[in-house]
Every structure is written in C-alpha cells, then in structure tokens.
Amino acid sequence: MEFLLQYVAVPMIKILVVFMTLSLVVAYLTFMERKIIAFMQVRLGPMRVGPYGLLQPIADGLKLMLKEDIVPAGADRLIFMMAPIITLIPAFIVFSVIPFGPPGSIAIPGLGYEVENPFYITDINIGVLFILSVSSIGILGVILGGWASNSKYPMLGALRSAAQMVSYEVALGFSIMGVLILAGTLSLVEIVEAQREGQFWYVFLQPVGFILFFICGVAETNRAPFDLPEAETELVAGFHTEYSGFRFSLFFLAEYASMIVIASMATTLFWGGWLRPFPSVEALAFLDFVPGVAWFSLKVGTFLYFYLWFRASWPRYRYDQLMSLGWRYLLPLAIANVIVTAILVLVVKG
C-alpha cells in the first residue's frame, strides 16, 4: 500500500497537476500574447468572449477541435498524423525534471502521509542532459510534418526549421556549459541549491552565457525575430501550412510549451529557480514569506513577456543572416565563454 502510494499514486497526481496547469498556462499564454501585443499596438485584443475576452483561449480550443481534420491527398498519412504528436509530447515531457519549488516534504493533514518533494515530479542526476535530448526530438516532428505534407511551402519551412534548430542547439548547449562548470552537477535541483550556496544567481557570474542562452532559446522555439520556419509573410505558415483543426493546434501548443521550457530553464539555470532575490543577503529575509513557486512563476512570466515584447518590436531575420549569426557569432562566443569560465574556475578554486 505504502509502495503504491509512494511510487504510483503520488507521482500520478503530480504529473496530472503539472500537465493540467501547464495546459492552462499554455492556453492563457496565447491569450496574454494577443493582449500584450495588442496593448503595445494601441488596440484592445480579444474582448468578445467573456469579460475582457478571458474565455477566448477556450473558444479557440473548441473551435479548433470541431474543425475538419484535413489530410492532403498526396500526403504520407501516417507520418502526417504522427508529426504533431511527436512535436508536442517532448515539449511536455521536459517538465518532469523542472523544479518549480524547493525540495522537502509536506505533510498532508488527515492522511498522516508526507509527500516528498511536492514541487517537482522527479529529480534526476542528468536533468540538463535529459531536457536537451528530449526537446531535440521535437524537431523531428517539424521536419516530418513538413515533409509528409507533400507540398512546397511546408517543405521549405521544414528545411529551414531543421537547419535553424540544429545549428542553434549547438550554441545553446555550449551556452549552459559555464553554469554546469560552476555548479558541478547536471541535476536541476542541485544547480539551484548551488546558486544558494554560492550566494549569487548564476546570471551574475555568467552574464554572457545567459544572453547567449536566451537568444538561442528564442531561436530554438522559432519565435520572433527568428520565426523563419513559419514566417507567415513568406512561407504562408511554414511547416504547418497544410495542417488544420486539432492537429494544427497541437503544433501551436508545442510551440508555446517550448517557450515555457526555455523560460523555465533560463530561470532555473541562471536566475536562481525558486530562490528569492539575493538569497545570501539576510536583510532581504522578509521576502521569504513568498513561496518558492511564486518566485519561479514570476521569473518565468518575465521571460515570457520578453518573448512577446520581441515579437512586437523586431522585424524578422533572413535565413542566411540567421545562420551566420548562429555559427559565426553565437557559437564562437559560447565556446569562448566556456573556456574563460573553465580557466577562472581553475584559478579561483585552485
């Protein structure tokens, strides 16, 4: 009984809670995107469904679910249908290792049972590696989706995505190496703990690493100004041109879920995860009454806001410019950052 509770029931509930919350956050992220960009552009955004348009994401979801699921005549049916799922699932799996709050156990009153580590599903000792490898599976869905559509625009979009995501993944990987050298661990929980013990959020020790990580992250998720794969004014909708209804919405959900992944990773690796600002300064101890989850959400929300802000402000890069930025500037900079960090750590720690 105890075994079932500890290894089946509790994790299942945790997964369910994370999944439901995440789905809701993704849905309302689309809403916030429309609202925030609307306010930046002197308009109101959705206002019709519910007060201030608050029910708009639900209406959108319903609409997409009720639409006809069109599969083009020349498409490779099986792959065409699988592609959105291949893209969506990794984006959600990644959340199994992201710590939303501090470790520790909470007693549930009445049951006499203590839930261990309620704020994350699991903590594995290769967390960062796990995120990188799982999230890179998502690209496959994009490529397959574009290829299986048997249409030229999606094909071009898919080729762009493939090139873009692969090349930025390299720089992304190098940009977080600095943090790993400092923390000496791949577990996300331990990285945050190391930031408390080290007294500084890693963004202060790794500013270059953070900037590179965020730029590459924006490119990884195909968001403006790197939204080439779905550049709507050039390639109509890129790799998901031929998708309709619910399958289209899966791609859409995956994109927004990946945005949250990148924001969560930036928070965890560089901005101290669930820690309050300046965890070492005793004078700020009064901030401790704010729960860790709230700090985490606040930081993630800030990064998501940056995503939207970028989209409202900047034009789009061209394909070749994007490639040259990635390979000629970001990657060498990331590698230099790793080397400098390594040497400094060696010198300081002896």
């Binding site: 552009q41 071009l156 100004p225 410019q321």
Partner: protein, 369 residues
Amino acid sequence: MENTLFDSSEITVSMGPQHPSTHGVLQVKLKLDGEKVIDAECVIGYLHRGVEKLGENQTYGQFVPTLDRMDYIAAVSNCLGYCEAIEKMLRVEAPPRAQYIRVILTELNRITSHLLWLGTHALDIGAMTVFLYAFREREEILKIFENYCGARLTTHVFRIGGLEYEIYDGFEDQIRAFIKDFPKKIAEYEQLLTQNRIWIGRTRGVGVLTREEAINIGVTGPCLRASGLDWDIRKSNPYACYSEFDFDVPVGEYGDTYDRYLVRMEEMRQSMRIVSQAVENIPDGPIRAKVGKIIKPPVGDVYHSIEAPKGELGYYIVSDGSTRPYRIRVRPPSFVNLQALKQMVKGHMVADVVAVIGTLDIVLGEIDR
C-alpha cells in the same frame, strides 16, 4: 547532361495569387535553388476589370468614380490626373481656390498611400507593430476625407473644372492638428526601424536598382528617386499649383530597399510641408470653373501625367468631339515599376522577394485595371 548526386535541383514555387504578402492578387512564379531565387515571373491580370474600355462607354464625368478603383489607395491622385487631363483638352483651368484644395487633398492622400506602404512593407519583413501605428495615422487622414466628401477610400473628390464641394467648417483646423501631431508619429516609426540592425540587414543591398536600370525599365516615383535620379513631375513639369510651394525632392544613393524606405519617409515629411503651406494660404473665390453641363472636348488627343504616390500616372485621352472619350489609355506607375521585380530579386533569397514586392509599392487594381 548527366545528373549527378551533387546537382542542385530547382523547384518551382507559385507565390500567389492568394499569398499573404503579394499585396493583392499578384502571382509570382519563382524558380528556386534551395532558398535562392533563380528566376521570377510575374503573372498579372487576376483583377482585370477593363477600366479603359469602360471609359469609352461613359461620359467624361461619369468615368471619374471608376478611376478611383484603379489605385484605390491613392484615389485622389487618380482623380486629379484625369480631371486635369480633361481640363487641358477643354482649355479651362480650375480656379486657384480649387487648386489649393486639390493640392492639400492630394498630398494628404500621398501620405496615406505611403503609410499603407510603410505598414505592409514592415509587416512583410516581420515588424508588425509599425503596421498598426501607420494605420492609426492613416485613419486620421481618412477621417478628413470622410468629412469632406463622405467617402474614405474611393473618394471621387474632384470634378472636371474644379470641385463639387466647398470645404467644411474646421477643415483647416483638423489638418493643422494632424500636421502638428504627425512628425512625432514619423519619429516613432523611424525609432522602430531606421536604426534597427535587423531592418537594415533585411533592406540594405536588397533589390538594388541602379540608375540606368531604373531609367531603362521606366521606373518612376520614389523607386526611381531612390536610385539617384532627381525626377519628380511636381518639380520638373509642375501641374496644379505645385510651383507655388516650397518643398524638396528626396533622392537616394544606392537604389536598394533601404534607400527607397528613406526616400518615402522623407516624402511624407515633404508632403506635410506642402500641406502646411497650402492650408494657411487657401485663396478665396469660386471652386469650379465654367465647363458647362455637357462636356464635349474638341477633337484631338492629350497626354497628361502627374506624380502619383507610386510614380508617374499618365492619361492619354483621344476625343472624337462627342460626349464620350474615343479612347482612354492609362499609364499606371505600378504596372511599369513591377517590371523591375524580376531583375531585382534574381540571386536573392525567398524572403527578399517579399521585401522587394513590398518596396515596389504596387497596387494590383492599378496594374490590371
């Protein structure tokens, strides 16, 4: 020739006629090598309505509203060119008061046309906020049109020999308020684009049109001026009362998309200068010359061209002495400017095709007529 594994294969992509950024129903057949454009062919005619032929079956006055549907973004310019051409045939001249009001409305229309260009061009390159900002100011001008003649887009604002309507109360004030406000707004657009690294990267050196090429193709308007030729019909062959105003003609240097952007931005400022001079000095007097109820130009032909927002808009009209024109031929600026597309996109990337279509500032209603 034997195909080897390393041969690059071309694909043909049909861009349009229902593509979000071909600005209407233009179809471009692109031959691509990967992302690189090898060849581009424009297919036009999807919006053909036979405007020129329609003119032969209507009286001179009846034809004017149809012309508004050519370049529907700059309907006032279309109207001005046609009315002046007929006035030239009739050897009458609109009274000074009408001339001034014509200039004010035409220049305001030039600003709306350029604002629409700016918004859609920026949107094509991915800067979506500029689009909504530009439309905000465009709305203010459209309100002035609406107050003046009741219509916003297809205004039918002038008549042969002058104007139909006297200006309304508060016309000048509304324009003054707009002029006062507008420089700040232009600065706002420029802040988002002019120094933006991505914007410069996307437009500098893209779609270069040298001076010679531009002249050979017959490109006119801001596209020609950006290529370095100081040619503006308002200066070189003044019509209406443009010679009475003080304004500069901005000229570019390299003839690339960025230069065309700068030229048009400056043109908006210059248009504002003209409007601000005109609105302070509107003379008193009649608003319409005596042309008679039935317009019967003498036998003969006339060519009259004006500087429309997109380039030289010319009307060639042949009269056989009856109440209907024998033949009307329109020289639309967009049609001629579009010829340059093929040359401008060759060797560039797919994304640049969109930028070049945007920078040419075409209107399909005018190309297909």
